[in-house]
Amino acid sequence: MGPPPGGPAPGGPTPGGPAPVGRESVTPLRLSPKVLLIDPVRMLPSLLLPLVGVLFVGGFSGRSYLWAALGLVGTVAFAVVRWATLTYEVLGDRLEIRRSLVSRSVRTIPLERIRGVDVSTPPLHRVLGLAVLKIDTGASGGDEEGRLDGVTLGEAERLKAVLLRRARPADGGGVPVPAAGPLAGEAPAARPSGRTIIEVPRMWLLYGPLSGAYLLTPFALAGGAVGLAFQWGGDFGFGRDAAWTAGEWLWHHPYLLLGVAVLLVLAMPFAGGAMYAVFNWDFRLMERDGYLVAERGLVNRRSVSLESRRVRGYEIVEGFAERWAGVVRVWAIVTGLGDSSTRGQLLPDVPRPVAFQVTADAIGPYRAGLRPHPPIARNRRLFRAIFPWAALTVLAVLGEAVTGSPLWWFLAVPALLLAILGVPLGIDRYRSLGHGYDGVRLAVRSGSLRRSQAVVERRAVVGWRVRQTWFQRRAGVFTLIAGVGAGKGGYEAVDVSRAQVVGLPVEVTPDWVTPFLPGAGSEGRSSAVARPEESSVGTGSEGSSVRAGSEERPSAVARPEARPPVGAGDAPGGGDGEGRSRASDDRRAAGGGAPTS
């Protein structure tokens, strides 16, 4: 039998397992030969252009046909060679994909690094019973990921099972140990495997047009059609002139153009809905062997597996129209997931209670409420929503007064309308703001036209960043960003108050932040504002001014045990002696900035 280290461990629970597992490790496998039928077809478009060029240059002579035939043969031969030279095999605890077409390359993917397997079946593949298998390893750059284009469906399923089953035991030992202690409530692996969490009924596809996705499809289609018409027109000989005359004719019948435009706009929701339905047909979310599997699509059936262990939270998104209808979309926040906007989708438009239930079931609930942000935030939201448009209105009116041209009104009136619309918008944006923490997960919410609430596990937070613009400093509010090594990378709580900006990090990660409490709270701030003169005096001699700065730091530092009120605390230390000496060492060079030479 093949792999002594890899084989027994996963094979243990299923005694019948080792046999096939062992066999496949020995012989390298190829893609299905049926892929040969697909490759040339797919290459046709890229071949078309040179072919057309050849036809134009050489005319419709025997030579050009020869060239064309040569091109076709070349493509087929290329596909055959590529098929013949690409092999893959599961060797022990890794997957190897070998390519030896011109240069020889071996891509080795350790199975324990596989974070998800993505099976999709484009139409042509579907007809032939093939699938594209994408192996997500969390490596940056799509090129680094494994991709097997054209395995049979059965093989894809088998391979997926093998890859994911092998991947799992490796972390089964590793993860619960650190994670179980503080976060005992949520061990996703403990669930029964292979159950369906939700199948989205087809009725709910009707929510599709609300999502605003694919709304521009009619325009894209029309544009594509026009472009194609031009190209084909060129090919068929009635060259540019005909196109120009057609264009001129259209120009002389503006109502026709207008009609077409109106038609396109009217078609937006329908086409958008249709596209949405095609992409999200029979959406199904399952849980299997520690993976979340989402399947969707009518033509290109796509199945995405996300490793539950890597799921750090979820983001609930609702557009304006969707809020009105009470439906939401959900994305998973997964570490190391490339292309997360399409892959990470957990739910298409579903009613809000369902979404909450499903996310609670699949990932974990968020139980606490959201805390509102201080009223100053409302003023800021209102100001931002209204001011630009109001300013534009004033400018336009001024322009009208100066130049006397009535054209300015065309600018002033819409700007005024937008400014008025800004009032409810700003208030709504304020009401959307919120953050909270329920002991396991923290949540932040913002936005009005596209309101999104991110719910992230505590352990996913890799750092905190607090930002305060000059305007925010005037208003006494902060933006708190939780750095998360997944999803968008950082989730912001905008315009939180001074108490909140300290409060949330202290709540979520008390051991990180409390040592700095006074520094991050208010002392650092006030001193920062007050200090410029004093330190500019010392800047001339670098050493001394650095000293001066460093004398001040210790006063701002206190140990966690104390959890001091603002400004308390004396020397650092108190914790471990080693830490103290180190800390005082560090502070020698506190301060930075560009010393002006």
């Binding site: 750092g463 607090v466 305060q468 040592p515 520094g519 410029p532 930075g592």
Partner: protein, 150 residues
């Protein structure tokens, strides 16, 4: 220093813009301005000089860093202020870099990266020896404390 470069760029740019607008002969350009195209760069220069003078001092006063209790804390900012907390256990790489200007002045920049851009921080203008020492210690400590880091 960087502020100085930005300043030169800004003044130069506005000078060019002033020349362009002045020489274009557009009807909406007031006559007094077209006659004196150097006004714009001078205005920009006058407006930005206080910022130019203040920025290094303010930055120097504001910028702080600290390593204590296995958390790196850094504060930066001039008009917009930022405080960053990065626990050492979540650090993935520590880079130190020196630009030509920094080399001339014996300084270095320390970049601390985590899995998230929002949790990564950059500490500019450290003494080279301090930066090297800190980088090494952070790297060692991160090795010891390392958990999943994502």
């Amino acid at each position: 220093m960087e502020a100085l470069i930005a300043f030169v760029l800004l003044v130069g740019g506005s000078f060019l813009a002033g020349r362009w607008v002045g020489g274009s002969g557009w009807p909406w350009v007031p006559d007094w301005f077209a006659a004196r195209p150097w006004l714009l760069p001078v205005a920009v220069g006058v407006l930005t000089t206080p910022f130019l003078l203040a920025e290094p001092f303010v930055r120097y006063a504001v910028h702080r860093w600290e390593l204590s209790g296995d958390v790196v804390y850094a504060r930066t900012g001039f008009l917009t202020r930022e405080w960053v907390f990065v626990p050492v256990s979540r650090i993935q790489t520590v880079d130190k870099a020196q630009g030509w200007l920094e080399r001339a002045l014996g300084l270095a920049t320390l970049e601390i990266r985590t899995a998230s851009h929002a949790g990564s921080s950059t500490i500019k203008g450290l003494d080279y020896a301090v930066a090297a020492g800190l980088a090494e210690r952070l790297a060692n400590r991160a090795e010891q404390l390392r958990d999943d880091a994502t």
